[in-house]
Symmetry: C2
Subunit: 280 residues, 2 copies
């Protein structure tokens, strides 16, 4: 990621990432400038933890501070960390990756509003995350149908009763998400679902199986999902889905353009208009 | 986890974790003392990233340094971080969580010898991890059949052709793991599989489907798996599996026992003898 930063950001931070703190500072600087460029145009952002974890603990510090900066701009934040474990380990991840937390030496950290999680280990892996999310009035998005081509080899397999593996996961998520205390005033569960923009045929069936789940819909833009493709992810009233784009917005610039943020803003506005037109 | 430390460790570190650095120091101290207690008796350790991530970036720093300490004691280290994503994000995780890495301000870090990964996103999510593992002469363990009760609800479902979801994942792992350059001189792939000690009936079939995978076998001890149960995870020659126990060893003490490390050593030796007896 460091290699793709605008010259005006990378140049301020000593050139090459031989220092994790320098790399992390550059990522923080870039991320905050992207947030400022899009904050007036979008309700929600989804920072990718992996980009930061590559730079070890200085990167993790930068990640938490990017989340805080986004919250301070009034944005909803979905932490894209795709954590998944069981029992106490899930609970530790929930506290470290989702909860509002902080220590005297880290400062108060609001944490993201929601976290992506992996449900392959089953609902006793998801439940500790959901408990912490409920305590904190936050949310989760479990991977159900991912946007990448390779997801088909497992998620599209057909079970004996004719449903797909992704649909079986959807049923588990719908069931676990309907527990007392997990449904909010708009009728949606704190436990949502990731359903890729590149799988429009699957999305319709998954929408039926998960009427109370907010869908997080990645794959728009760089991965090939069109605004038309995402329509099936919304409920009939045009609510219930958050369409995300990453590379097509955060890298929508020439590296040597000193006004690169304007290109990022424009890309966000264009995407919003495309999605709104498709849902209208 | 802080709450379960021996008094003689916790007491050195200012009582309660209001400082992330204090909590992380205590975890590091405890972990290194556990490593010293078991290093003469076991070949391999599996630190759980979640326990450390709970304490934010100071915890992540402690985790990396625990991995380094274990390597310096001559132990093989499996980083239990269960990461999973796609494409460039998987590659970032592989560099941050698996590779030998380091920056001028973090010091050289050997990284663990292997990493646990989640295959729900498919093989284009695993491949970037495998590429980095191959470059680094390291390994991976993909979650196939986990040891927790809730894993059944997804992993035990039967597909149209009569195999289970876990067996379908096993086939994908066996196939992806057989790629050129991924098989070592003993005939095992760098891409291994997690198969819980609590699922002995499944293990036999999974062993047949994945003859070239080293099995990482959790669930022994506190989760109820017996030495007898793990026999099916080994190949006929008694090789090919790593049985792990966590809580039953690292918490095998009374908190007020000043010689708590002796209890940890004894628990490790007992477990080794039980596993060796079952495999012999």
């Amino acid at each position: 990621m460091f290699e793709r930063l605008p010259d005006s950001v990378a140049g301020k931070h000593a050139g090459s990432p031989t220092s994790a703190a320098v790399a992390a500072d550059a990522l923080y600087d870039f991320s905050v400038r992207v947030l400022r460029a899009v904050a007036d145009h979008v309700p929600c952002v989804k920072p990718q933890s992996a980009c930061f974890e590559r730079y070890l603990w200085p990167g993790v510090e930068a990640y938490h501070k990017v989340v805080r900066a986004a919250k301070e701009m009034g944005l909803l934040v979905i932490g894209d960390a795709k954590r998944g474990d069981i029992g106490l380990s899930s609970r530790h991840y929930a506290h470290g990756c989702l909860a509002s937390t902080g220590f005297e030496d880290t400062g108060d950290l609001p944490g993201p509003d929601a976290l992506t999680v992996n449900a392959y280990l089953g609902m006793d892996g998801i439940e500790p995350f959901a408990e912490v999310a409920a305590e904190q009035e936050k949310g989760l998005f479990a991977l159900v149908r991912t946007s990448n081509p390779g997801g088909d080899a497992l998620q599209s397999l057909t079970l004996g009763d004719g449903i797909s593996v992704a649909e079986a996961v959807a049923k588990l998520i719908a069931q676990a998400g309907s527990a007392a205390g997990y449904i909010g005033r708009e009728g949606y569960s704190l436990l949502g679902a990731v359903v890729g923009a590149t799988k429009p045929r699957d999305a319709q069936r998954l929408r039926e199986l998960m009427p109370q789940q907010v869908f997080l819909v990645p794959g728009f833009g760089a991965q090939g999902g069109s605004a038309e493709d995402v329509r099936a992810c919304f409920n009939a009233d045009g609510q219930g889905a958050i369409v995300t784009a990453s590379r097509s917005i955060i890298y929508a610039f020439d590296r040597d353009d000193p006004d690169w943020e304007s290109s990022v803003s424009r890309a966000a506005v264009e995407m919003k208009e495309q999605v709104n037109a498709a849902v209208a």
